[in-house]
């Protein structure tokens, strides 16, 4: 198990490394001379430009530049914003908590709603209630989050005036963005929970539990749900990066001061160091949560653990 965890982590690091290479490649492929971002060659004499090139290492071959950049990344130095001149790490760290607040609240709420709904749908499989739950959550999946956000904003912010429309002014500001982020994504987890519960119900040990004379409730909660929730728990970690990705759009609808809004601002300003920094951070977050999810699935389910060890052997 330990060896497996180490291997997963190694693979994750490799993915992050590959992401940095792709990002650096993208930067190299961009049209235009990067020196223009620092100085305007038409106003500054050529020898000064050369000096600047020397100073910023822009005259070195690309792979050397990449290694310098990577080395700086590893030391937590993401460079400086071209627009504001501030350190990228400072900019990101100021925004990251807001994004995590949004993503984590939404994720917890998501499971609080989706798991009971999925269980209910499975216990009453093929009933009208079941179809209703599946249909509504599936339909919600096709709702574009940015549109849902605008509709909620119109209803609860403008018409009813109950909640702030945008920005961050205390706890009430988080309600609309979290609702917007949570509602469309319910469908997947509801279905996963439902199908896992339905699969678990057919297991012999569930029959045994019934045969022992346990009540329906006890069987469902203690025997079925506990096992059915393993993949659902793993999905929790696997979906964290998706929620962070989704918040990029939501943050722009609600002018939420998070990383997603910073990313969008930086893209429209062509502020490359910030864009790169944010994407590297998201890649690292993704790899961490994916690895945690994989390791957790092995810990929770001995059957998976055995399978993994067989694969390794």
């Amino acid at each position: 198990m330990f060896a497996y965890a180490v291997r997963r982590l190694g693979l994750g690091l490799l993915v992050v490394l590959a992401v940095t290479i792709v990002l650096f490649g993208v930067m190299q492929l961009m049209p235009g001379d990067p020196i223009r971002l620092i100085a305007d060659p038409s106003r500054i004499p050529a020898h000064k430009i050369e000096q600047l090139r020397e100073q910023w290492g822009l005259n070195r071959p690309p792979h050397v530049q990449y290694l310098y950049w990577l080395g700086n990344l590893l030391r937590g130095d993401f460079g400086h914003s071209i627009v504001s001149g501030q350190r990228v790490s400072v900019l990101i760290m100021a925004r990251l908590p807001y994004t995590l607040m949004l993503a984590l609240t939404s994720l917890f709420l998501h499971y609080l709603i989706a798991v009971p709904l999925g269980l209910l749908a499975a216990v009453r499989a093929n009933s009208r209630l079941d179809r209703c739950i599946v249909l509504v959550t599936t339909a919600l999946r096709t709702v574009p989050a940015f549109w849902l956000g605008i509709i909620l904003m119109m209803t609860f912010g403008v018409r009813l005036g109950w909640l702030p429309i945008s920005g961050f002014f205390g706890l009430s500001s988080i309600v609309l963005p979290v609702a917007t982020l949570t509602l469309p994504s319910l469908g997947g987890t509801v279905r996963l929970t439902r199908s896992e519960v339905l699969e678990t119900i057919r297991e012999p040990y569930v029959l045994t539990a019934y045969a022992k004379g346990l009540r329906e409730r006890a069987v469902t909660l203690r025997h079925v749900l506990r096992n059915a929730l393993i993949p659902v728990t793993v999905m929790f970690f696997l979906s964290l990066p998706w929620v962070v990705g989704g918040s990029v759009i939501i943050e722009n609808v609600f002018a939420w001061p998070g990383m997603g809004r910073l990313l969008w601002n930086s893209i429209t300003n062509q502020d490359l160091p910030v864009v790169q920094g944010i994407i590297v951070i998201i890649a690292v977050l993704t790899v961490i949560s994916n690895t945690l999810g994989d390791i957790l699935s092995g810990l929770l389910d001995p059957r998976i653990r055995i399978e993994l060890e067989e694969v390794r052997a």
């Binding site: 590959a18 709702v143 990705g245 989704g246 429209t268």
Partner: protein, 294 residues
Amino acid sequence: MSGGQPATTTTAPRVAAKPRSVMRLVLRHGQLIAGLLMFLVVLGVAATVDSLAPRPFDEMDIPNRLMEPGPGRLLGTDHYGRDVLSRVLYGSRIALRVGLIVVTIETLLGVTLGLLAGYYGGWVDKVISFVTDMTWALPPIVLALAIVTALGPSLDNVIIAIALVSWAGYARLIRSKTQSLKNVPFVEAARALGESDLSIMFRYILPNTFSLIIVLATLSLPAAILSTTALSFLGLGSQPPAPDWGVILSEGLTFVGSAPWISVFPGLAIVWTALGFNLMGEGLRDILDPRMKA
């Protein structure tokens, strides 16, 4: 989740269904029919929009700006006095075109890579699987944003970006399907007859994955439309005055308090289109591949 499971069951030989039972099957799947009808409406609108729309999508009418929905202007007008109904109707063309292109590119990429990885195994599989995992590992919208940053904002670049980040799902499923198909007797027979690897892959294995590909394509089309409109909404895709649903929505955001109709209707159009494809895809999945059913 079905893709992750080891494929222990070999695919049963396809039994040709009797026409009557197919009919009954379709009738039982109201979902598929509803989805198909919704899709046909969008297709019909896109095909006839030039005669259907009351006005050109970019005709300005400043005196009648921000008019409420009513007779004459069924869905109201926007801040330039443009007819919202006409803009939303014209948007169907962009949505279908974009969805189709994205799905075509990602199918070609994903299926080819999945076939190669599943058929050859070994280092080919290792390399392809690593690239797949890497693409899979990042939230697609973030990866797409990075690509658009490099290429510059435009609808074509958004199409490229979304297609480049969303083929991984195909590759994974086709890979595992190929792995389970490559040792099935008819493939071994083909090999014994001296068929080349390419011929086995494309003439023997590929046709057996068609039902899977059809379902995947139908289900990923709405996702493609949602992501491209999202990027257009952010101002990185279609540029105004294009009647892209995402563009109309983002223009409407400014007038969310005074003229909510500008943003309500393009959103409804997106939901209608995406829901139609989803219902259709799920209906098809139930018929073509019952084992994929949740």
